[in-house]
């Protein structure tokens, strides 16, 4: 998959690096001193690079665990995110990473032990509930066969009942999870969209049916499942498309319990939207029908409220038990 791999000199001999490089025997390996030299260059084009992304293997020096943006929290008292990776295998047209990062290169931070030390100290610092989100700057599972993220991080949570880890994904890479003991404080949160949207705006992602099959396998194996309907996109024929979609999900998943549902309509920080529009001036999704709402580019406020409350009611009619959290635009 990768024909060029850049490796920070400081991680060149780490076992995780060696394992990854062994998978790509034909790739050209290029030494670099810091991933930022490539990833943060001023002049680069995310859209062009997305066609053939390179891989950068690096060390995350500091700021490994960060407080989450306000809207992202669910029900824990303390909420943080961490990113063992930057960027994603998939190519969702609405993805804010396109507006946030200059480069489409995939970065894997392989100093897992530093992440684990930081996680442990955060967890042990509190007796309140604490949740860590791993899918903010990437898809948590899409590269799991390469990063071995789940095998490395999930066992850390076993002794701590007050600490939770959310894996946010559209992926069907669940092989590692299926070989592990399921833990009650790990949340496998699947982002789902109607087939029409998957086909149009979620390039390279597994189909809705494939995601539903992955969810079923994980649930059968005893893992906690959460559903994420974010972004909700105001497509033509919205109510028919989404009604059919929600019914399809509940028909496939049956009545067994779901950890949580979150709902959020399509929204982007203003600066990310500006960058994305520059990359895709020919993408109707990004061009019109949006306005500046609560500091973000989103659907006009009344429309947003209408869409979300319709989705919430429809879901509650299908499932009155699972808690539904609304994630609104905030600055």
């Amino acid at each position: 998959m990768y024909s060029i791999i850049y490796v920070e000199e400081s991680v060149r001999d780490m076992p995780q690096t060696i394992e990854i490089l062994n998978r790509y025997q034909n790739a050209a390996i290029v030494d670099c001193s810091h991933y930022g030299e490539l990833f943060n260059r001023r002049k680069q084009n995310f859209r062009t690079q997305k066609k053939e992304p390179t891989l950068i293997i690096a060390r995350k020096e500091n700021k490994r665990i960060l407080p989450i943006p306000g809207e992202y929290a669910i029900d824990a008292k303390h909420n943080f995110y961490f990113s063992h990776m930057l960027n994603c295998l998939y190519d969702c047209r609405y993805c804010f990473l396109q507006g946030m990062f200059r480069s489409a290169s995939h970065v894997i931070f392989v100093n897992y032990s530093d992440f684990k030390t930081d996680l442990t100290s955060h967890i042990e610092n509190t007796e309140d509930s604490i949740c860590f989100y791993s899918g903010y700057d990437c898809d948590s599972l899409a590269l799991d066969p390469i990063t071995d993220f789940t095998r490395n991080f999930i066992p850390l949570f076993k002794p701590y009942q007050h600490a939770f880890l959310e894996l946010r994904t559209k992926s069907t890479q669940i092989r590692n999870l299926l070989t592990m003991e399921p833990l009650p404080n790990i949340i496998c949160a699947f982002s789902l969209s109607p087939n029409e949207i998957v086909g149009k705006y979620e390039a390279k992602t597994p189909s809705l049916n494939a995601r539903l099959a992955a969810i079923s396998s994980l649930r059968d194996a005893g893992w906690n499942i959460a559903l994420r309907f974010d972004p909700i996109i105001f497509v033509d024929d919205f109510y028919t498309v989404y009604k059919q979609f929600f019914h399809q999900i509940y028909a496939a998943l049956g009545s067994r319990s779901i950890h949580s549902i979150t709902l959020g309509s399509f929204r982007l920080p203003k600066i990310f939207h500006k960058n994305m529009k520059r990359l895709y001036p020919d993408e109707p999704l990004l061009i019109n029908g949006l306005s500046l709402t609560n500091g973000q580019i989103a659907y006009e406020e009344n429309l947003e409220k209408k869409l979300i409350s319709w989705c919430e009611n429809t879901l509650k009619n299908l499932d009155s038990v699972t808690p539904v959290y609304i994630q609104r635009s905030t600055v």
Binding site: S3, I4, Y6, A28, V30, D31, C32, S33, E37, L38, R41, K43, Q44, N45, R47, T48, Q49, K51, E52, K200, I233, F234, V235, D236, R278, P281, D282, E283, P284, L285, I287, N288, G289
Partner: protein, 266 residues
């Protein structure tokens, strides 16, 4: 338009011939050109290469094409005649590094390169060596998107041949032998770039004949045109009223207004 910055006429000779380039500028650097390609002869050394690249960058119309530093280089181990796509350029005296874009090709090596101030007798172990690439990278990286930048070197001497055997005739011969491989490399590097249409259909061009759009305004006009096409694929152009007194900025404002009033079909 692809731009090649090269040190010597002998290195450029077969490219000029292959692409039917003609000499269009004599000073301060010789420029050989056709519609799609130009070769700029910088002279030897990184300062010359820097100056020639800066000079070439003044023509902003060329910024969408490839920018290639091509020329001969030494290497401790690679066979003479090997074509190398350079993955990292390090300036020997300052230690500064740059990362040109790399296009993997089965007949092309990928390797790092060191740029020296003068010819060296002892080849570095893990990189090729030359005297120009760092000057090119220092200038081009400020202005051009990284995916457009390539450093392509042809190995002309190595530990067994030594630099003493490098003649003008050998330079020419090596380029001649590799000209089709170079051409293939360039074609596949170009494929990576071809996302955005860079010009308007003739009918639109004609509509704005006589107007002077700056490079930035042309770019904005293209973006608006692409947005319009995405929103109204059936129509050729928005129905805006233009009059003789409209300046490019007025035209852009009218277009922007019209386009924001359209509803996307999702």
């Amino acid at each position: 338009m692809n731009t090649f910055i090269m040190a010597l006429k002998n290195e450029a000779y077969h490219l000029i011939k292959r692409y039917h380039l003609t000499l269009v500028v004599h000073q301060p650097f010789k420029v050989y050109q056709t519609q799609n390609m130009r070769v700029i002869l910088s002279g030897v050394g990184k300062s010359s290469s820097y100056a020639a690249t800066k000079f070439a960058l003044e023509d902003r119309e060329t910024h969408h094409g490839l920018w290639v530093n091509f020329g001969v280089a030494g290497d401790s181990a690679l066979p003479v005649g090997s074509l190398v796509s350079i993955s990292k350029v390090t300036e020997d005296d300052t230690g500064r590094s740059w990362y040109p874009y790399v296009k993997q090709h089965p007949k092309c090596y990928v390797k790092a390169l060191r740029t020296y101030n003068s010819p060296i007798c002892q080849y570095p172990l893990n990189s090729s060596c030359d005297m120009e690439a760092s000057g090119f990278m220092a200038a081009v990286s400020e202005a051009i998107s990284s995916e457009h930048i390539h450093v392509l070197k042809l190995i002309s001497d190595n530990s067994s041949s030594g630099i003493g055997n490098l003649t003008k005739a050998l330079m020419k011969q090596l380029v001649a032998e590799n000209i089709e491989l170079i051409n293939t490399y360039i074609k596949s590097a170009e494929e990576n770039l071809s996302i955005e249409p860079k010009s308007f259909p003739f009918s639109i061009e004609k509509m704005f004949q006589g107007q002077h759009f700056t490079v930035t305004q042309t770019h904005q006009l293209l973006e608006l045109y692409r947005s319009f096409c995405a929103l109204c694929p059936e129509e050729a152009w928005p129905s805006i009223e233009l009059n003789n007194r409209d300046k490019p900025s007025d035209i852009l404002a009218k277009l922007r207004l019209q386009i924001t009033q359209l509803s996307p079909k999702l």
